[in-house]
């Protein structure tokens, strides 16, 4: 338990390390999700027209 607390504390830099990873995950994950949704919508629209 104390090792987990120590890990999360990041040697006192938790307030900087975790937001840095969080922003990267949110921005890159969000872009991936958005791109994937648009791709699926484009495929659906195309198959709807093609038949």
């Amino acid at each position: 338990m104390s090792t987990l607390t120590a890990f999360l504390a990041m040697g006192g830099y938790a307030a900087f390390v975790w937001p840095a990873y969080g922003v990267a995950a949110a921005v890159l994950g969000g872009l991936t999700a958005h791109s994937w949704r648009r791709y699926r919508a484009s495929r659906r629209a195309l198959t709807a027209i093609e038949q």
Binding site: F7, M10, G11, F16, V23, V27, L28, L31, Y39, S42
Partner: protein, 274 residues
């Protein structure tokens, strides 16, 4: 058009370009490559995060805060590389009117903007504990901020015209002019007195960073490059699908029997995606 037998010099480049100018061929190749790119990217980023957070040592000066580096530095590399890609694709679009080149540039720009944003925010979060400030208007930070605005300007410009060809050309010119900024970013830490430290990986004489930190950095960078390829293919495929749907819709509207005598429309719409 085939360029067989003329593969010397410019002939080779033309042959390569015309090979990939065919959207049908691109759609087949990218469909095959996409799962591999996505899988590689996910695996490399997962391993990279584990290495960065659990395996890599704390810095003797910066302590655990150095772990921000494994996000910040690969994001910065991607910010520059993607811009170079956008500019190169724009040049091909301007010179050869290559149909996929502009699609590639448009698809890549938001990805580059995202990496630049990650680079700026992680750098700010790293600067606060290490330099004592979130932001400073020194040459490196300012030139990267300019890069971010170049991406945003490009995205706004290509979408600002009713005629997509004009928007594409204006955006291509902006992307090419903005290339001037790349060497300024790269060498800003050498040319000016910056708070930002100079390069410790991509430098003459080899890296000065410890191997235990270099390996996680390179794994993470490989994952980020894989993510760029994945998103690029995904977004390019989306654009080709949308163009094809648009062309089919216009053709269908034109082929439908006209209700009035003035209902005739121009059917010579270029059928993208064929």
């Amino acid at each position: 058009m085939r360029y067989k037998g003329t593969l010397g010099g410019g002939g080779f480049l033309k042959a390569m370009l015309s090979r990939f100018a065919n959207p049908a061929r691109f759609m087949r190749a990218s469909a095959a490559a996409l799962p591999w790119c996505a899988g590689f990217s996910a695996a490399a980023i997962a391993v990279g995060v584990v290495l960065a957070l659990f395996v890599a040592p704390a810095d003797y000066q910066q302590g655990e805060a150095v772990r921000i580096m494994y996000v910040h530095v690969p994001a910065a590399w991607l910010a520059l590389s993607v811009y170079l890609f956008v500019a190169a694709a724009s040049a091909v679009a301007l010179v050869w009117r290559h149909p996929l080149a502009e699609i590639a540039a448009r698809a890549a720009a938001p990805i580059g903007a995202a990496f630049t944003f990650v680079c700026l925010t992680s750098g700010s979060l790293w600067g606060r504990p290490m330099w004592g400030t979130w932001w400073v208007w020194d040459a490196r930070l300012t030139s990267v901020l300019v890069l971010f605005f170049l991406y945003l300007g490009y995205i706004a410009l290509v979408n600002a015209f009713d005629n997509p060809d004009r928007g594409g050309r204006a955006g291509s010119v902006l992307a090419l002019v903005g290339v001037v900024n790349l060497p300024i970013i790269k060498f800003s830490v050498d040319w000016w007195n910056t708070l930002h430290q100079p390069a410790s990986v991509l430098r003459l004489g080899g890296p000065t960073i410890a191997t235990s930190m270099l390996v996680p950095l390179l794994v993470m960078a490989a994952g980020f490059y894989g993510l760029f390829a994945t998103l690029l293919f995904l977004r390019m495929r989306t654009a080709v699908n949308e163009k094809k749907a648009m062309a089919l819709r216009l053709n269908g509207a034109a082929l439908r029997p006209a209700r009035t005598s003035t209902g005739g429309r121009d059917t010579s719409v270029p059928a993208a995606g064929r």
